[in-house]
Amino acid sequence: MSQRIVIDPITRIEGHLRIEADIQNGKVSDVYSAGTMVRLLEEILRGRDPRDAWAYVGRVCGVCTSTHSLASVRTVEDALGIVVPPNAEIVRNLMFATLYMHDHVVHFYHLHALDWVDVVNALKADPKKTSELAQSISNWPKSSTGYFSDLQKRIGKFVESGQLGIFTNGYWGHSAYKLPAEVNLIGLAHYLEALEWQKEIVKIQTIFGGKNPHPNYLVGGMACAIGLDDVSAINAERLAYIKQLLDDGKRFIEQVYIPDLLAVASFYKDWGAIGGGLGNYLVYGDLPTNGFRDASSFKFPAGAILNKDLSKVHEVNMREDIEIQEFINKSWYSYEGGENVGLHPWKGETKLNYTGPKPPYEHLNTEEKYSFLKTPRWKGHAMEVGPLARVLVGYAKGIPEFKEVVDSALKHLDVPATALFSTLGRTAARGLEAQLVANWAQEFYDQLIQNIKLGDTRMANTEKFQPDTWPAQAKGVGHAEAPRGALGHWIVIEDQKIANYQLVVPTTWNASPRDPQGQMSAYEAALMDTPIADPERPVEILRTVHSFDPCMACAVHLYDEEGKHLSRVKVL
């Protein structure tokens, strides 16, 4: 007999995501992923100034803040044929690197860790043993017995108060939690430390972009002028501030994040065979070192991998009509050309057509349309995007930096390369690329200093900033490797205004509903066959969903195969 469970809201993500899953013989036998919120920014953008688009689309997401703005200025620059000065490219890279370090650490500790770390069990840890363990895996200074003992007392009082706040109703004590109490205590300590740390690293974005979240960008370059002789511009003091923040960020990733990731992973090696899913991976590429137009200079190389075949990396062309298409057969939209056609984003349409149940509802009719996400495909294939895709493409291309971090992690955990295609692989890849990015940020910084030394202080190319310099018609495409994966923007400009603006975001690739061929997208595919020990507390589903770091938000309702609601069980 199969049971359908509904998890809505999926928490510890950005936005509104609902998962409905059928459980049979202790495993997921069918699953549906639904986005339940829509704002229709595409329609709002129509008729506006293309130079303003970065600010509008920046508001798509405040978690991966800045990434849409970056993709947007690149899109408009592509349409208008604007080449930005090298310094602007480097500043954009440094802001991007900042986002990666911030976002990946916050994801690991604040959005994902509670799927693996049992906070309440940490109270049983021996502080002395915890200290010894912490010192054996890292040089991080906050690791004394006293430190862990004080923290344990503080959390002990907190739990005794009976008010667990954000920790209320967690799946504490679930059999799927495998960490020794000492590792749980280290995880909890670093949960709190990371909360403190994350507010520091973002200051790099604040220096260049004025604020975080939602720093400012500029079509043609960046607005932060370099002026070594003025207190208001990027000068030696600001640069020194950035260097210090980069160094502190790198140290936290190397001494806290990576050792914790490996320590936790070593207790969950079975998850190296769960949650693999599609086996198809897509990367647009990012972090240019010789101008955005030179794709060969990207630190994250572009490419596609099919069927887990690492011997071949396929080329990707975002401009080709047949390569990237979006479908709406299971999404609450309608296309003029009918239900089953796919449209390239330049020809994209965004017309709402909600056919779902009227709220309040118990469940969606998953036989018909069931999500506000469209379904993108690459040459007809369902693709996974994100850290794992990026790391695999770099690895498959044999790039030494990628080989080094991946092989060293595999060796440390003593698992085969096939363990990469999994929930564990996805979570590990995120940490590995954070490490790479922290290193690259140092290179970007050095290059910036070098340029200034050589007398190049240009930060913006404003030759084509005024609309009267633009052609009557233009279209462009821009991309960014957002922390969650390949992000593409497409624009059509007519009479100096936006005629069409389409975004295909990473979570759309990963969390979308089925296509006309019935192919699942990445979340659904990865959740199939996931073992579920207790359908009332499906922590296993959260592990895999969170391994993708969803950027969307939703209660578990149980009903049996006839659709009848089972009584809701209160856990605590």
């Binding site: 809201p9 967690g170 607005a223 939703c554």
Partner: protein
């Protein structure tokens, strides 16, 4: 499973005891508080009673049509730090961004708080509420945003509307507002609503609002738009680091020109500072590191109503008739940006003349507020 959540929450008194203070210290603190508030001796007992028996502040934080930039900004707060707020000051019983529980366990946490602390909890709302098509454009746990808002607001002590989405509708409410994104204040009445606009608001401003409620047990003094006066009574323009260049007529003409490298005024490249009320100039961002104008880009006016439809980003707002620190926020909202051409000089003179009046008004208001407390 071992944890019981329905245990009695510690009161401020118990918290203070736990931190190692003596009962005598606590009573002394109550007497000081009473004196500070201008209460008679009998008031001491009242405060002592309130603090001994009042539980820590329960908070429910909802997420609707938003981008989570407000939650992100909140965790950027440096004083107090967010870990200390979460562990010591409030009990954040529901927030989709950070809470451990998902699904019906998450919903249960919310329901428990609503029942147990009826009329006592603070409701925070991040995001706008889509009212088109029976609310189907934002559903959580099968309920529409509007249904959830009405249910949770009914027994809240007060509501904090975080950010421009919850106070004005923000980007999704920009024309043509396809989902009819609507701010909290247009849907809920009969409750104190604290509007904290900005996209997002500054982290320390958000923490400041929470800390005010926890520390003083009252909501902060609000202006007629429901915004805390402490953070929204000054224009960005009047606290701008580049302001002297404006007064001297020295402007950046295009981005990255020589004037930009010298930090001149950004008014001609579209800065909306002159029509924006926010604390960015004074408090700056991310613990005082910078603000948009300092970093070379004009203010986009993100804390103002309908800022997405108030002219293009790089279009100069020609003059500010009626604007100035001297005019109050009520009239400002009604004045369109960029109407006539004259008046930069007149504006400057008027500003200086009226600044004096305003400052004396504020001092007067401050005294009034003190009495009320």
């Amino acid at each position: 499973m071992a944890v019981q959540t329905d245990q009695k929450r510690p009161t401020y008194f118990e918290e203070v005891m736990r931190k190692g203070y003596e009962r005598r210290d606590f009573l002394k603190f109550c007497a000081t508080m009473a004196a500070y508030m201008g209460l008679e001796t009998s008031g001491v007992a009242q405060i002592t009673d309130a603090l001994m028996n009042k539980p820590r502040l329960p908070v429910i934080w909802l997420h609707f049509q938003e981008c989570t930039c407000c939650s992100e900004s909140f965790i950027r707060s440096s004083h107090p730090m967010v870990a200390d707020i979460l562990l010591d000051q409030i009990s954040l019983d529901y927030t989709e961004t950070l809470m451990a529980a998902s699904g019906f366990q998450a919903e249960a946490a919310m329901q428990d708080t609503m029942k147990k602390y009826k009329g006592e909890y603070i409701l925070c709302v991040e995001g706008s509420i889509p009212t088109a098509a029976d609310g189907v454009y934002c559903c959580i746990g099968g309920k529409s945003a509007l249904q959830i808002l009405e249910e949770t607001a009914a027994n809240a002590k007060a509501i904090i509307a975080w950010g421009s989405c919850a106070t004005h509708g923000c980007v999704q409410a920009a024309k043509p507002n396809p989902t009819k994104a609507t701010p909290v204040r247009k849907l809920i009445s009969g409750k104190p609503i604290i509007n904290v606009p900005g996209c997002p608001p500054i982290g320390e401003v958000m923490a400041g609002v929470i800390v005010h409620v926890v520390t003083f047990g009252t909501i902060p003094e609000l202006d007629s738009l429901g915004r805390p006066k402490a953070f929204y009574s000054k224009r960005v323009h009047d606290s701008c680091q580049r302001r002297p260049y404006y007064d001297a007529g020295m402007f950046v003409e295009t981005f990255d020109d020589e004037a930009a490298k010298k930090g001149y005024c950004l008014y001609k490249v579209g800065c909306k500072g002159p029509s924006t009320y926010n604390a960015c100039g004074v408090m700056k961002w991310n613990n005082g590191v910078s603000n948009p104008i300092i970093s070379g880009h004009g203010c986009i006016g993100c804390s103002e109503e309908n800022y997405w439809d108030n002219g293009r980003l790089y279009e100069r707002a020609s003059v500010f008739p009626g604007f100035g620190i001297e005019s109050n926020a009520d009239t400002v909202g009604k004045v369109a940006l960029g109407v006539t051409a004259a008046g930069i000089a007149a504006h400057a003179i008027m500003t200086n003349v009226r600044k004096k009046e305003l400052i004396s008004d504020l001092i007067g208001e401050g005294k009034e507020t003190e009495k009320e407390i």
